[in-house]
């Protein structure tokens, strides 16, 4: 496929979707309407499960919440559907906010099970509620009307649902390409990236949870006013599982996957029943077996879901064309003057159970200085980094940053105070572009949030943040790769992207964990030049590295660690001459 045809594919699809009710029989129009409603519900799940990595077995409950709120208001109080929509959204926000406040701190299976518990409870509560018609259901729900025109025929509701689907997709796309969206997309790899760059991961997880619920409620609202009759059954656990099926089969990280999955699952379930009737008789339930078999085979052949599978077959990733001019940030603040102590640590200690990983470590680093840390694997260097950057809490010892003591630090605080870091194992979001990855670093420099990006009010700030990221990519020599997916880069290049991302946070102190590993000799020289330049600009840099030539060529001072202890600290030539270092580390008989 050519680039142009891919760009226009959504438009062509939309045109087809708009024309099809004129060509298809009513029954099929109705089926497609339900597919699209399911697709809306799945879009919520894509945000939560696919993008933010939280599995939910409760999506149908939120769909049901939206449906019952608007359905009740319409059938019992005679309120118009549009007010019902607003109420459904507000109710979903509150319910999800409340439930999410308890559950999003849970991880993995705990969260999945908790959503399942709420999902089941919703079903039973509605089924036993007199007000909502118990298991018999709620009837007499009015159709949606626009300027006096009631949308009640299959074709009319089709267009209503299509418009809402397009709006929700547009909203999600808008959101995912914003500052907020980049943080959401990083959550799937865990909370560390978000927290390292100043974003509260719990806050964002809660946001994903609420967004999923709100989008689910919109789907429920559509369902209530299209079907105009409600019973608890379509909102039970089975439905939640179906939504999860649709999302995973389509490709859980993909907006378009939701459409594909919803279509496929609904149509297969629908058609199989009719098909198998002829083979096994009218009472057969074997269609579920066949359905299960199809799902399993699809998962075995396309583990990431069908959309990525098809995309890889027919439309390999094409870098989007976007003009982003490298730009400096409107200067945040002046770097501290040369020679000022940026970080000082005294008697740091951290133990894990009985194992002391960092034991009584003291050191300081000044602006305009590179401090090298040497030591074998397992000597406690990475733990030390995690203590300084607030990823781990210390068992004992004092830390101060730019003169102010730090009592209890979190990674988030440290980023806002001006500390930035890279990781030993490159921690990039593989399916985001290089530029977007770098822009995550600048998260705490932006102000625009969810609402601004939903309404496209964040464009000016986005231009700035992306321009700044482009400028940093240029500095590490990867500007030409800005629109590649990070996962497609070589390991060495991924490390450089990490450095650019760390710089994007505009730090005063930069912690680099083995930045030269994976680089070739000439690339190391380029990196070395860059670090020298940054030092000259007044940045303080702490460097863990195994390549001794690299460290000795760069560092102003060196610290050698072994078994969690500091065995030497000083200027490189002093360390080199230190007998303790020679005995314990270099292996020279004293």
């Amino acid at each position: 496929m050519t680039r142009a045809s891919i760009r226009f594919a959504p438009l062509i699809a939309l045109a087809l979707a708009a024309l099809s009710p004129l060509l298809l029989p009513t029954y099929q129009v109705a089926v497609i309407t339900y597919v699209m409603i399911a697709a809306v519900a799945c879009l919520g799940l894509v945000l939560m499960t696919g993008i933010a990595g939280m599995v939910s077995f409760g999506q149908a409950a939120f769909v049901g919440l939206g449906a019952y709120v608007s359905g009740y208001l319409s059938s019992q109080l005679g309120w118009p559907a549009w007010i019902g929509l607003a109420c459904a959204v507000v109710a979903a926000t509150f319910a999800a906010g409340l439930i999410g406040a308890i559950t999003v701190r849970m991880s993995g299976h705990y969260l999945a099970l908790a959503t399942l518990c709420f999902g089941i409870s919703f079903y039973f509560l509605v089924g036993n509620s007199e007000m909502l018609g118990r298991f018999n259901g709620l009837t007499g729900i009015a159709p949606v009307s626009i300027a006096g025109l009631e949308l009640s025929s299959e074709r009319q509701t089709y267009y209503l649902v299509l418009v809402m689907l397009v709006l929700v997709i547009a909203w999600c796309r808008q959101l995912l390409s914003s500052r907020t969206g980049r943080v959401l997309r990083s959550l799937r790899t865990g909370p560390v990236i978000a927290e390292t760059f100043g974003a509260n991961a719990h806050h964002y997880r809660l946001m994903a949870f609420v967004l999923a619920a709100v989008i689910g409620a919109i789907a429920g609202w559509l369902y209530a006013h299209v079907q105009r009759f409600l019973s608890p059954t379509p909102f039970g656990l089975t439905a939640s599982i179906d939504y999860l099926f649709m999302t995973v089969i389509g490709g859980s990280g993909q907006l378009w996957g939701a459409l594909l999955g919803a279509g496929l699952v609904t149509i297969i379930k629908h058609e199989l029943q009719g098909l198998l009737k002829f083979v096994f008789g009218p009472t057969t339930r074997l269609e579920l077996l066949v359905f299960a078999a199809i799902m399993i085979v699809v998962l075995q052949k396309a583990r990431k879901g069908l959309w990525p599978f098809l995309e890889q077959r027919f439309a390999p990733h094409i870098a989007p064309v976007a003009d982003i001019e490298p730009a400096m940030l409107p200067c945040r603040c002046a770097k501290p003057e040369h020679g000022l102590t940026v970080l000082s640590a005294s008697h740091l200690r951290r133990s894990f159970g009985g194992l002391v990983a960092v034991d009584d470590i003291s050191f300081d680093v000044k602006s305009g200085e590179i401090l090298g840390i040497l030591g074998p694997n397992g000597a406690g260097k990475s733990t030390l980094f995690n203590l300084i950057s607030g990823v781990l809490s210390r068992s004992k010892g004092e830390l101060s940053f730019l003169g102010s003591p730090l009592s209890k630090v979190s990674a988030r605080d440290m980023c806002r105070r001006g500390l930035s870091r890279t990781f030993q194992h490159a921690a990039l979001v593989q399916d985001m572009t290089v530029l977007e990855n770098v822009a995550i670093g600048a998260t705490h420099l932006g102000r625009r949030g969810l609402f601004a990006s939903s309404l496209r009010l964040d464009r000016a700030e986005e231009r700035q943040l992306l321009g700044w990221s482009m400028h940093l990519l240029d500095r590490v020599g990867l500007a030409d790769k800005a629109f590649e997916l990070a996962g497609n880069l070589s390991l060495g290049h991924q490390r450089l992207v990490e450095i650019a991302r760390a710089l994007a946070a505009a730090p005063d102190l930069l912690l680099l964990d083995e930045p030269a590993a994976g680089l070739r000799t000439n690339e190391k020289a380029v990196l070395s030049d860059l670090l020298v330049e940054l030092r000259a600009e007044g940045l303080a840099i702490v460097l863990v590295e195994h390549d001794m030539d690299f460290v000795f060529g760069l560092a102003n001072r060196l610290m050698v660690m072994n078994f969690g202890r500091r065995i030497a600290f000083g200027r490189p030539e002093e360390v080199r001459a230190d007998t303790g270092v020679q005995e314990a580390y270099l292996g020279v008989a004293a």
Partner: protein, 346 residues
């Protein structure tokens, strides 16, 4: 509520708890070796009771056809693979493993179980049929996608559950069954009246969990299974086949399901679709135990059983809701107390 009622409820709770322990242990076992949340574990439990009840009625249970069908698929998959590698030895081995073993059990079920056969013999053949299903499901569903993410494996497990459910209705019909229990006079223990059935359930559960614990603690074979759980690549390079480890653990899971089914059969009426909620409660127990620690999973399962028993006394319509809502604080506590959670689904 007086003390007597409370004691009876407690006893009921402990009995269901003992069965959930077996389910939870099997789920933890399967998860730690293969990262699969084996949702169909509960279905296998229900199928065991349905199988035994068919034998008791002197009929041929539908399980025979399910096993035949599954073995057929597994053998064909194996043959295709062996042909691709031109590996005769493997072809022969798979014929034995996925063809001969189920065939022997099926023949036993077809010809050696007259209506008058003793209960123990019927139980053994039922258990044999169900145990066969474990590794067959592993071969067909999970082995081809061993490297997939836990989320995808979970979805596949749910799909497998749906499949079993639908085939279960076809094979067993919609009627519920209750199997014959151990008979005998009730015993008096510490001032409590204990039925032989309850005592049998508790004792069997303790024995099975202890046997599994010892198997993982001492013999090299058991250590090897754990090793495969800790580090797949490490296991592969010392010659512990992760495929074999997965198969072994599914045999154990099948066996545990069969034993649970034999134990639970006489205490409650089971339908072809009763398995899901059973499995879910075992899963809750396992989760409370952090999907890792066996004794804690057991405690979690007992908790679920007891809560359920008391909830059904007070508010039977909301029994399951109460169980699941009460679990949430426990989940919350477990989730924040587990350091470095590596059980992320993605």
């Amino acid at each position: 509520m007086n003390t007597d009622v409370a004691m009876i409820l407690l006893q009921d709770g402990l009995v269901s708890g003992a069965i959930y322990i077996l389910l939870a242990t099997a789920l933890v076992l399967v998860f730690s070796v293969t990262r699969v949340i084996f949702v169909p574990q509960g279905d296998l439990v229900a199928f065991t009771a349905l199988t035994l009840s068919a034998f008791e009625a002197g009929e041929r249970p539908g399980t025979i056809w399910i096993v035949t069908f599954a073995a057929g698929i597994a053998v064909s998959l194996e043959m295709v693979e062996a042909a691709r590698w031109r590996d005769r030895a493997r072809a022969l081995q798979s014929l034995l493993r996925f063809g001969l073993v189920p065939a022997v059990v099926i023949l036993a079920a077809l010809f050696l179980v007259p209506k008058t056969a003793p209960l123990v013999w019927k139980m053994a053949v039922s258990a044999g049929l169900i145990t066969c299903l474990g590794p067959l499901i592993y071969r067909i569903v999970f082995q081809p996608m061993a490297a997939a993410s836990p989320l995808v494996l979970l979805i596949a497990a749910i799909a497998a559950h749906l499949g079993l459910n639908s085939i279960g209705l076809h094979a067993f019909g919609p009627e519920g069954v209750r199997t014959e229990g151990f008979s005998g006079a009730p015993l008096a223990l510490f001032g409590m009246i204990v039925t032989p059935q309850a005592a049998g359930v508790l004792a069997s559960s303790v024995v099975v969990v202890a046997a599994l614990y010892l198997f993982f603690r001492f013999p090299l074979r058991g250590r090897a299974l754990l090793a495969a759980a800790h580090n797949r690549r490490g296991a592969e390079i010392v010659g512990i086949s992760t495929v074999a480890a997965g198969r072994t653990v599914f045999v154990l899971a099948g066996l545990a399901a069969a034993i649970s089914g034999l134990l639970i059969g006489p205490t409650t009426t089971l339908y072809y679709d009763s398995g899901f909620i059973l499995g879910l409660k075992g899963f809750v127990g396992a989760i409370v135990g952090g999907m890792a620690v066996y004794p804690l999973a057991a405690a979690g399962a007992l908790l679920v059983g007891t809560v359920e028993s008391f909830a059904s006394f007070w508010a039977s319509a909301y029994r399951d809701v109460v169980v699941f809502l009460l679990i949430i604080p426990v989940l919350f506590w477990r989730s924040v107390s587990v350091l470095a959670p590596e059980d992320g689904l993605e």
